[in-house]
């Protein structure tokens, strides 16, 4: 009656073993490490970099434990913090131009565990120290900018087409164009309909004036907002690289918010400065009379910049345009050659300046330079084929579609889409983080020991079995969290303690049922069977209600609460498995063999 087939035992054993393997990495701790990752998207971390890093360390006599390529970076592990810091300085001196060299911590778990993808849980900021920012993108400013840009474009367009208009005013989220007569309006409407299809046009007569209202279409509005967030995300990513933070988290949250999490950062003032800064973009003419030679001072009136492909160019100091004049940049294709291209829209002032500059410099090259961190880099340096008016510029040639996408993003990033404001900050110092770990760990440990003592004293053998099942529950929960690479926070640790406290409920239910049956004079074997059988429905019901609470917390909770909710939900699942299956397997193993059982040890 109380026997499991062999496969069931083996299955349970396998699950517990897997749990053990994946829990193991959490016990090895972490070693100091240095992470080298490329500063720009155009550079890739590869075996050459790995060899280079090894070489640099060797010539400086620094012993490293392990160096490996991981994703788009090279990570080197050290035995102590001294050599870690020394290595960071040396590597920064050698590779600092093109790579971010940052301090990191790497798990010390042995190779065979790592190759099984058994990694320790990721510690949240409240446990390792660091800073969490929530930034809000100012959507109103993004829309304002788009509307102002459109107004000046419309002005330029109407003037160019010689359509007489009396003025353009902004009314909330709409533009109002006044015409002198109906004929001009009809002509204007036709023209604008063709060139500004992001706007819905409607005409209206009011007080003897012929008005044309242009309202941004909802899908265009969404696109502008979306691209504003995307653009700011990209800019943030570039900037965070400068901070030398390993594995920063930069994510969109909701429609208009961005989360930035920087582990180990203590200088929050600098972090805020860098996040709040704007990158700038400049258009200048290339100096083609002189040759750019690396290491030689550039001639008077020119500056030397690095190109994206690694070469150098001399560029005149005079600035034709700055990035603020770019209202939009989108990847696309050249109409004639079907080559990948980037389409840039300039605002009214920019369009005029650009027209003048191109008229005077046909056949020459101009350079678009992105300045960040006070350092300029030439994004692209195309040849001017003809005079370009109307503020619509196309850059093409020697670009594939991916590059076109990157370039357009960079161009947009140069002109920050909308300002951002920090709406939430949570900083945890490293000492508090360590304390939090100890506190969370201690309370779980003490609680577990107290519950164990009580259960064993109260239910004897069945109590011991319950405690073993509870231990297996803890093991499986930690293994599951490690497998998912979930972030462990202090509320998450509280969740682990709480689920353990709640999980014992299932075993108490079972044990009490068995006692109940025994009291009613049922034979021990039958009592065990009935106890597990009858308790199952109750256990299921009571766990589902807690699961409902957990899911609601997960859906509506933010940050730390989400961590708590994840642990709660997973803990319910593992506790069902361990309280029902594992404890039953143990009971069967101990009592199931004896056909005639005189008594069971249940207190």
């Amino acid at each position: 009656m109380n026997r499991y087939p062999l496969w069931k035992y083996l299955l349970i054993l396998a699950v517990v073993l897997v749990g053990l393997v994946y829990t193991l990495p959490n016990f090895y701790g972490e070693s100091p490490a240095v992470q080298v990752s490329p500063l720009r998207a155009s550079i890739k971390a590869d075996d050459a970099l790995l060899a280079n890093v090894g070489e640099v360390l060797k010539t400086n006599g620094i012993n490293s434990e392990l160096a490996a390529l991981d994703g788009n970076s090279v990570k080197v592990r050290f035995g102590d913090t001294d050599s870690q810091l020394k290595a960071k300085d040396v590597l920064h001196a050698k590779l600092g131009e093109d790579y971010v060299v940052a301090l990191n911590l790497l798990p010390r778990s042995p190779q065979w565990l790592t190759s099984l993808h058994a990694l320790p849980m990721y510690l949240g900021l409240d446990l390792r120290g660091g800073v969490h920012f929530l930034l809000q993108v100012d959507m109103k400013a993004a829309m304002d900018k788009a509307l102002e840009g459109a107004a000046s474009d419309i002005r330029g367009d109407l003037r160019e087409q010689n359509i007489a208009y009396a003025g353009i005013t902004r009314e909330g989220a709409a533009l109002q164009i006044r015409f002198r007569d109906a004929a001009a309006r009809t002509k204007g409407e036709a023209e604008l309909k063709q060139r500004f299809n992001d706007y819905a046009l409607s005409s209206k007569d009011e007080g003897g004036e012929f008005l044309l209202r242009a309202v941004l279409k909802p899908e265009a509005e969404r696109r502008i907002q979306d691209s504003a967030v995307q653009q700011n995300l990209l800019t943030l990513r570039n900037r965070v690289n400068e901070l030398g933070v390993t594995e920063p988290v930069i994510q969109q949250q909701g429609v208009d918010r961005v989360v930035v999490q920087l582990a180990g950062v203590q200088d929050t003032a600098r972090a805020k400065d860098i996040l709040g800064r704007t990158a700038t973009l400049e258009v200048r003419m290339v100096d083609e009379e002189h040759q750019a030679v690396e290491g030689v001072a550039p001639p008077f009136g020119t500056e030397m910049f690095r190109e994206r492909n690694g070469g150098f160019l001399l560029v005149k100091k005079q600035v034709i345009l700055t990035g603020e004049r770019i209202s939009d940049a989108q990847p696309g294709f050249d109409n004639r050659t079907n080559e990948a291209a980037v389409h840039i829209n300039l605002d009214g002032v920019g369009a005029r300046k650009f027209k003048d500059a191109t008229r005077e410099n046909v056949g020459k090259r101009m350079a678009i330079i992105l300045f960040e961190k006070g350092k300029g880099e030439i994004v692209t340096a195309p040849v001017i084929r003809e005079e370009i008016g109307g503020g619509r510029v196309q850059i093409s040639g020697q670009m594939d579609t991916v590059e076109a996408q990157d370039t357009s993003l960079l161009l947009r990033a140069g002109a920050l889409a909308a300002p951002m404001e920090i709406v939430e900050e949570r900083t945890v110092g490293p000492s508090l983080g360590k304390e939090n770990i100890t506190r969370g760990f201690d309370s779980t440990k003490v609680g577990f020991i107290m519950v164990s003592i009580f259960m064993i004293a109260y239910y004897l053998m069945f109590g011991t079995i319950s405690v073993l099942a509870l231990g297996a529950n803890l093991l499986l929960l930690v293994a599951l969290l490690s497998m998912m690479q979930a972030t462990l926070t202090l509320p998450g640790m509280a969740g682990i303690a709480l689920t353990l406290g709640m999980a014992i409920d299932a075993n108490v239910l079972i044990n009490e049922r068995i006692r109940d049956e025994l009291r009613n004079g049922v034979s021990p074997q039958a009592a065990i069977h009935a106890g597990y059988d009858r308790a199952f429905g109750t256990i299921l019901d009571s766990n589902v209600t807690t699961l409902i609470a957990g899911i609601a917390l997960f859906m509506f909770g933010s940050g730390p609460i989400k961590g708590f909710a994840v642990v709660l939900c997973l803990g319910i699942l593992t506790s069902m498995f361990s309280a029902i299956l594992i404890s039953r397997a143990l009971v069967n193993l101990i009592y199931g063999r004896k056909a005639r059982l005189a008594s069971v040890s249940i207190g």
């Binding site: 809000q136 506190r439 406290g501 209600t545 708590f564 909710a565």
Partner: protein
């Protein structure tokens, strides 16, 4: 070992009138304090800045307050936090000050007077975020309530779902009442604890309800009150032991978990205490009040209707 050697069922339901009155009174007191004192919402909900700093020597709170007031922060709330060396500074949200920069300003001020101040923790929450959190918290509470009622409806009967959720929302209100009375800080983690309690204490009702259902099937001759009394008496041992075990874990957090977990554990403790009471002595009388009967579970066997065939 067995704490509960009860030979005869305890007539809980005959005390029903008293127990429901007691809980009604507690409930009204909790409402009273919630209405008059209100909850002391933490920075998560109100917005503002909280800074925790650590001094090498016992800190002079009055002096810290003075320094801050002299530097344009007269409304800073300064108090000891946990130990005499730890100081918590709370600054409410102001309309015209860039909130995110405030913590830097505070640290600069403190460092001027004592170079050894260590920044332990900064929390800044802008007004937009605070409102969102309140909204999401309310939504989560609603979702949990409806989810539980719905589940119990499907598994048992609507009367059970309703009785359970009333009993457990009464627990939630009492927890909130405690927080209002003592003016403990109501933070996001306390909200999480409250919702966890809601899910957890429903367990309690579910266990009793399961027995009641079983008894309806097995004790064919018994009265409804006898059935409920028997169900409660027989699950009592399990109730006390389970809650005791959970409370051991929560107690460990309460005393060892530090300030961050303290109020979280406190909310759980109150919730666990009252959920024992409410699920046994509130939910079950409510069931009788709602008129639960054997027919809710054992559908009378439908006899085939006689048919008149042409």
């Amino acid at each position: 070992m067995d704490f509960f050697k009860i030979k005869r069922d305890i007539p809980f339901m005959s005390y029903g009138r008293y127990t429901t009155s007691i809980s009604l009174v507690t409930f009204l007191i909790a409402i009273f304090f919630l209405a008059t004192k209100g909850l002391n919402f933490g920075v998560d909900f109100t917005g503002g800045t909280v800074i925790e700093v650590h001094y090498a020597q016992p800190a002079d709170v009055a002096q810290v307050r003075e320094h801050l007031a002299a530097n344009g922060m007269p409304d800073a709330l300064v108090q000891n936090f946990g130990s005499s060396q730890d100081v918590l500074i709370q600054i409410p949200l102001k309309q015209n000050v860039a909130g995110a920069k405030l913590s830097e300003h505070v640290m600069e001020t403190l460092l001027q007077h004592d170079a050894k101040v260590e920044k332990r923790r900064v929390e800044f929450v802008g007004p937009q975020v605070g409102n969102d959190l309140v909204e999401n918290g309310a939504l989560a509470l609603l979702l949990v309530s409806f989810g539980i009622v719905g589940y119990l409806w499907v598994r048992f009967e609507w009367k059970f779902g309703l009785a359970a959720i009333i009993a457990n929302l009464h627990d939630v209100v009492i927890i909130l009442g405690f927080f209002a009375f003592f003016q403990w800080e109501f933070s996001l983690s306390v909200l999480a604890a409250v919702l966890a309690v809601l899910g957890y204490s429903v367990n309690e009702s579910v266990v009793v309800f399961d027995r009641i259902r079983e008894n309806f099937r097995n004790m064919r001759k018994a009265e409804v009150t006898e059935i409920i009394d028997n169900a409660i008496t027989r699950t009592m041992s399990r109730t006390i032991i389970t809650h005791g075990s959970t409370q051991m874990m929560v107690g460990a957090m309460l005393f060892l978990g530090g300030e961050t977990l303290h109020y979280f554990a406190m909310a759980l403790t109150i919730g666990i205490m009252f959920s024992i009471y409410s699920s046994v002595l509130v939910a079950s009388p409510l069931l009788i009040l709602l008129g639960v009967s054997r027919e809710d579970f054992i559908k009378p066997v439908k006899e085939d209707a006689e048919e008149v065939l042409p």
